[in-house]
C-alpha cells in the first residue's frame, strides 16, 4: 500500500524540483533501522528516490519550516497531523503560505519504538513495516505479523480524527475510515493529578527534546532559556521541570495539534500528551476550537469575540 504512494511522492518531488518551483523537498528517507525513518532534505531531482512512505514516518517535518521556508520555496511531505502544524505556522505568520508546497498524504496511523514495544514486538526483529487494511503489517524473521491498527499505532494516532491532510497542494492516498478512541480528560481529583505530575516530572532531565521536536515551539528564545527572567532554572528537579512543562503546555493551548512528537522524543518517557490533550479539551470546550484546521482563521488565543467566555466567570 505504501509503495504506490511512495512513488507518487517521488514523482511530485521530482516535478517540483525540476520545474524550479521549490529548491528543497522535505520528506522521509530510510532510517538506520527498518522501524525508524529519518528526515530527508532533498535538493535535487536525482535524490528523490530516497524518499519513502511507511508506518515509521513519524517525524512531523513542519518543525523545520520556520528555518527553511521563511525566505525560500520548499515542499514538505505532510501527514494529516503535520498538515495541521503547517496551518498553525501559517496562521501564526511563521511561514508564508506561498513559500510552502504541501504534499499531503492520507494516513491510517504511525508506529514508533514505544508503540511497537507496547504491542510486544521486539524491535530487533522488525524487518519491514506497512499498512494493510485495518492492520499494521510487520515483517519479522518468522514471517509477517499482522497487528490491529488500534494496538500498534502511536498514542496520538489512537485518538486521531483527521486522516486526510487539511491543506495540500497535491494529495495522495485514500483516507481510511476514522475510528478514533474518545479523548478522555484525566481522571482524579486536583490533588491526585498534581501528585501524578509531580512524580512524572521527577524524571525530566531537561534535555528539551520535547520542545525542539515540536513544530509549535519556534520561539527564538524560549522562556525556559532566559537567564534574565528566570521563570525556571536549569535545575533538574520536579518543581523546576513542572514550571517548564506546565509553561510549555500553556503556551501550546489552542496551538498543539496533537502529533505526539514531544512524547515520542522524550528519552525519559514522560506522558506529555496527557498534558497537551487535557489543555486541548479545555480549549475545545471553552472556544469550540480545534487547532490547525484552517489557515485563513486567526489562532484562537490571538483572537477575541465579545461572546467569548471568561474562564474565571467574570464579564
Amino acid at each position: 500500500m505504501a509503495n504506490e504512494i511512495e512513488q507518487k511522492i517521488r514523482e511530485e518531488a521530482k516535478k517540483l524540483l525540476e520545474s524550479g518551483e521549490v529548491t528543497l523537498v522535505l520528506g522521509w528517507k530510510a532510517g538506520s533501522t527498518p522501524f525508524r525513518t529519518t528526515p530527508a532534505f532533498v535538493r535535487s531531482a536525482e535524490e528523490v528516490d530516497s524518499l519513502v512512505w511507511n508506518p515509521a514516518c513519524t517525524n512531523n517535518l513542519a518543525v523545520y519550516l520556520p528555518q527553511v521556508a521563511k525566505r525560500a520555496r520548499v515542499a514538505v511531505v505532510a501527514k494529516p497531523c503535520d498538515s495541521r502544524s503547517i496551518v498553525t505556522l501559517i496562521q501564526e505568520k511563521q511561514v508564508p503560505r506561498e513559500n510552502v508546497k504541501v504534499i499531503g498524504i492520507s494516513c491510517a496511523g504511525i508506529v514508533d519504538d514505544a508503540s511497537l514495544k507496547a504491542a510486544k514486538i521486539r524491535l530487533q526483529d522488525v524487518h519491514g513495516l506497512d499498512w494493510e487494511g485495518d492492520s499494521i503489517l510487520i515483517g519479522t524473521p518468522a514471517g509477517k505479523t499482522k497487528l490491529p491498527m488500534a494496538d500498534a499505532v502511536r498514542e496520538g494516532c489512537k485518538t486521531c480524527t483527521v486522516h486526510t491532510p487539511v491543506m495540500s497542494d497535491a494529495a495522495f492516498g485514500d483516507a481510511p475510515e476514522a475510528n478514533p478512541a474518545p479523548v478522555e480528560p484525566m481522571e482524579g481529583s486536583f490533588e491526585e493529578k498534581r501528585a501524578f505530575w509531580a512524580k512524572q516530572f521527577e524524571r525530566c532531565i531537561r534535555c528539551y527534546a520535547c520542545r525542539q521536536v515540536c513544530p509549535a515551539c519556534y520561539c527564538s528564545k524560549c522562556f525556559a532559556d532566559r537567564p534574565d527572567t528566570k521563570w525556571t532554572s536549569k535545575k533538574a528537579d520536579a518543581s523546576e521541570a513542572w514550571m517548564f512543562h506546565m509553561g510549555r503546555a500553556m503556551h501550546l493551548a489552542g496551538r498543539c495539534i496533537g502529533c505526539g512528537e514531544c512524547e515520542r522524543a522524550c528519552p525519559m518517557e514522560l506522558p506529555l500528551m496527557k498534558l497537551n490533550r487535557e489543555v486541548a479539551l479545555h480549549v475545545q470546550e471553552m472556544y469550540d476550537y480545534t487547532p490547525g484546521m484552517d489557515p485563513d482563521t486567526d489562532p484562537v488565543l490571538g483572537h477575541w469575540e465579545p461572546e467569548d467566555i471568561d474562564p474565571n466567570g467574570h464579564h
Binding site: P39, N59, L123, I205, A209, Q212, V213, E269
Partner: protein, 340 residues
C-alpha cells in the same frame, strides 16, 4: 580467587548486609522510563539485568543536579558550606560494561590535569564496580565496534553474569575479591561456567559496524559533508549528550531556595547554541554544522589527543534517543568511508 555464583535472593541479602558499612548504588526500576541509579536502602527491587535502557553510570557520579555549595546565614554574615559527602566505601552494581569504560573517560576529564574535580573524586574514590555482562544487547549497541571488551573487563572490580535464578560473579581485582570473600558466594557448577561463557561469547559476537577497526580520528575532517547532513536534520536538543555515559559538559547556576543560595552544576551540551554564547553576543559556534561537528570531533579526535581514550563506548543511547534518527554508527561509517 576463583569465580563464584550466588542465588538472586542471597545476592539481595548480601547487598542488604553490605549497607551496614557501604553505600550500594544499583539500578532501580521506576514506573516508567529507564531504570534509575539509586543509593539503595535495601527495600528496593534492584535490577541487575541490562536489557532495559538503564541510565548511564554518570547519573550517580555526575548527578543531574550537583550542589557545589550553599551560601547561607544572616545578611552580611553569610558563609559558604560544602554539601555533605558520604565517607563510606561504595559499591556500584549492575552497570553495563560500556558504562564502566565510560567511567574511564570521566576519570580522564575529571581527575587528570592541573585540577582534580573534588565532587567527582569524592564519589569515585573507594568505589567498587561490579559490571554486568549484557546478555541481550539492544538494537542500538555497538560497543564491540569502538573498543576491546576484554580490555574493558579488566578495569572493573568484578564481572557478573545473569544466569536466571542465580548470578555468576567473576572477581577481577583485589578490591573485588575482598568484597566477595563471604560464604554467600558458592563455587559454580560446570553448567554455570558454560552458560556464563556463552553470554560472553554472544556479546563479543555482536555484529561489527563498517567503521570497526578503523581510526575515526584520522579520517574525520573539518569540512566533511556529513556535518551539514547532520545539521540539516538535527533539532538541537540535548537528548544524545544528556543520555551519553561519557559526555561531561556542565553548566553552573545559582538558585535561591528560601534564605539559602545554592550553587549547583547541571547537564549542558555543545548541541545547544547557548552553550558557547557569550554575554556580549559573540558566539564562536553559531551554526548547527559547527555543533554537530564538535560533538563527534570531541569524542573521536580531541579526547584521543588529550587523554588517549575514545570518548564513546558504543552504548547506543544517543542512537536510541535521537528524535530524528541521526545514528552515530552511520555517521562514523560515512566518515571512515569518505577517507578510504
Amino acid at each position: 580467587m576463583p569465580d563464584k555464583v550466588i542465588s538472586k535472593s542471597d545476592l539481595r541479602q548480601w547487598l542488604t548486609s553490605l549497607l551496614a558499612d557501604h553505600d550500594v548504588i544499583a539500578p532501580v526500576d521506576r514506573e516508567a522510563g529507564p531504570a534509575a541509579w539509586k543509593d539503595i536502602d535495601g527495600k528496593e527491587d534492584i535490577e541487575i539485568g541490562t536489557s532495559g535502557l538503564l541510565m548511564a553510570a554518570k547519573e550517580y557520579l555526575l548527578p543531574v543536579h550537583d550542589v557545589l555549595f550553599r551560601y547561607k546565614g544572616k545578611k552580611g554574615e553569610q558563609t559558604l558550606e560544602s554539601p555533605e559527602v558520604s565517607k563510606k566505601p561504595k559499591l556500584m552494581i549492575g552497570l553495563r560494561l560500556c558504562d564502566a569504560q565510560a567511567i574511564s573517560v570521566l576519570d580522564s576529564v575529571y581527575l587528570e590535569g592541573r585540577f582534580k574535580d573534588p565532587y567527582y573524586a569524592a564519589r569515585r574514590e573507594n568505589l567498587t564496580l561490579m559490571a554486568t555482562v549484557c546478555d541481550d544487547p539492544r538494537w542500538s549497541c555497538f560497543c564491540t565496534s569502538v573498543g576491546d571488551l576484554n580490555e574493558w573487563a579488566k578495569k572493573v572490580d568484578a564481572l557478573i553474569t545473569d544466569l536466571g535464578d542465580k548470578v555468576y560473579v567473576a572477581p577481577v581485582t583485589e578490591k573485588g575479591e575482598k568484597l566477595l570473600s563471604t560464604p554467600a558466594f558458592k563455587d559454580p557448577a560446570d553448567e554455570d561456567v558454560k552458560k556464563k561463557n556463552q553470554v560472553w561469547e554472544n556479546l563479543l559476537a555482536l555484529p561489527k559496524q563498517p567503521f570497526a577497526g578503523k581510526d575515526v580520528s584520522q579520517s574525520v575532517s573539518w569540512d566533511a559533508p556529513i556535518w551539514k547532513d547532520m545539521a540539516d536534520r538535527c533539532l538541537g536538543c540535548g537528548a544524545c549528550s544528556y543520555q551519553c555515559p561519557s559526555c561531561t559538559c556542565f553548566d553552573i547556576q545559582d538558585d535561591t531556595v528560601g534564605n539559602t543560595i545554592e550553587r549547583y552544576r547541571c547537564r549542558d551540551t555543545c548541541q545547544f547554541s547557548d552553550f558557547t554564547l557569550m554575554g556580549a553576543g559573540h558566539n564562536p559556534r553559531p551554526e548547527k554544522t559547527m555543533r554537530t561537528r564538535q560533538r563527534v570531533m570531541h569524542k573521536f579526535k580531541y579526547q584521543i589527543e588529550q587523554f588517549n581514550i575514545i570518548g564513546c563506548t558504543g552504548c547506543g543511547r544517543c542512537v536510541e534517543s535521537c528524535p530524528v534518527n541521526i545514528d552515530l554508527r552511520d555517521v562514523l561509517s560515512k566518515i571512515t568511508e569518505q577517507k578510504a
